[in-house]
Amino acid sequence: MGMTIAEKIFSRHCGRPVRAGELVVAEVDFMMGQDGTSPLAIQAFRELGGERVCDAARVAMVIDHSAPSPLEGVSNLHAMMREFAGEQGLFLYDVGWGVCHCLLPEQGHVVPGDLVIGADSHTTTYGAINVFSTGVGSTDLAAAMLSGKLWFKVPETLRLELRGTLAPGVYSKDIALFLAGELTADGATYLAVEYGGEAISSLSVEARFTIANMAVEMGAKAGLMQADEKVLQWVSRRAARRPAPADPDPDASYRGVLEYDLGGLTPQVALPHRVDNVKPVEEVEGTPIQEAVIGTCTNGRLEDLEEAARILAGRRASPEVRLIVAPASRQVLMEAMEKGIAQRLVEAGAALVTPGCGPCVGTHNGVPADGEAVISTANRNFKGRMGNANAHIYLASPATVAASAVAGKITDPRRML
């Protein structure tokens, strides 16, 4: 019987054919920690008696969640990361480099067919380039830094066939939100999700990252796509290592196969306080907002800023709204400057903040006030997520967020195309 993408990647990393359900110990190609998880991993590494990481070329630490540091406690944890990275000679992406999940593919650390772990739940992002990448905790990262290996349960796979072509004003974020609404926040728990169909293959690689990023919002362990020509070209411009794409076999065995026609999809919005509380934008239009955020590992890439700038060109953010833009990486910011995108955003009233997580997780950079409503391109809208449990977070595409910033209330971006 044939294999899923997940079974193929695990088989190659175990040196024998393995099937869904098996517990395995597998060699990890690359591993990553961010500033919320690395300090505990360093502590656990020391407790394990670790002196040298197994292979410094396979480890990166990223200071992105609270960067630059707003508090002395955070500064001391950052200092601990710098010291460890320096001592071990591993990759350190310090303040200003950007969000871990934008950096790992952009800097060429991960290639199709890899098995990757990250001490961050949105590590699923690289599934868009055919990497089995999954989030783990700090102690798992410590164990992998020491041994190069980790234990896994090979997951069953849920296959999603996404048909149709997106209408103008509808983007990959709308697909991700729609699927979260359909499958719910635990609809894919413990499973790998495979995304296929022309609604995926017609998307750019950047747009695909948005969907794989949000696989974890349905509980998934990984969100996998095939490495087509677009992916291989995208990767070859960035990575030195040779990709080893893993395609699913036609007779692979799935937990289930679901098919959706996305031709009629309209812009989607997730309402507070659940990512699966998703409605078409028409049903929430007019809700006043006080803050609009464009950025994060979900939607802070060049195309996202470009989409937002297109809507904002010749318009201005409402004086009632704080528009905050956090490019996902320094490279994104540089390209946005070269193309005049950054200029247009700032002219439209945006506060441009350091490449990184921005206000996504409530550490700094735009904590909302009591009772305020925020519309954001992020992936989570839990109560308190942005640092205030009395605020309300709506999630949408960069176009919807930009249109809403202009109008001062949630707005269908198709009105401003």
């Binding site: 517990l23 395995v24 110990v25 500033d35 919320g36 998880t37 300090p39 505990l40 502590q43 656990a44 407790e47 394990l48 008696g49 969640h65 609270s66 508090l71 406690g73 955070v74 944890l77 990250g118 001490a119 961050d120 739940s121 590590t123 989030g135 783990v136 905790g137 700090s138 102690t139 798992d140 410590a142 164990a143 020491l146 041994s147 290996k149 980790l150 234990w151 926040a185 635990d186 728990t189 413990y190 509980g219 362990k221 659940r274 997780v361 409530g362 550490t363 904590v367 989570r380 839990f382 109560k383 308190g384 997520r385 640092g387 449990a389």
Partner: protein, 169 residues
Amino acid sequence: MAGNGILRGRAHVFGDDVNTDYIISGKYKFRTLDVEELARHCMEDVDPGFSERVRPGDFIVAGGNFGCGSSREQAPLVIKHAGVSAVLARSFARIFFRNAINKGLPAVECDTSGIRAGDELEVDLARGKVKNVTRGYTLEIVPLPAVMMDILAEGGLTDYLRKHGGFKL
């Protein structure tokens, strides 16, 4: 854990989809590695005062998808440090589940629908049973794979790896 391996305490009941931001807010976890300090904010946004009410040995009892959200290992860690002896839920988000075992916090999958706040429970991991003393019934637990029981028995992954020098499957 009591000498006979049975955990005893009272139930603190929560609903479905309790996420890691509710367990420990991101605004605290980036500041410090001091778990005792973090444990004072455990469940703060969904159940203010939880950390003061919880008594050593008590249980967190929840519905589906407990621990969804981020990969923060501080989540099981603060629960453990708040004095909770185990989390019982209908289902767990996978990273939380993994982290809980790695930190030596039993995460028990079972039908929690009949458990009410304040119920006295006895959890016997080795025999795979949850007894609701207050309501007089016993549930079977979905058994854990052997490697996870071994990690739990050592008090977490760090001690397990120190003892075995690697993973034993």
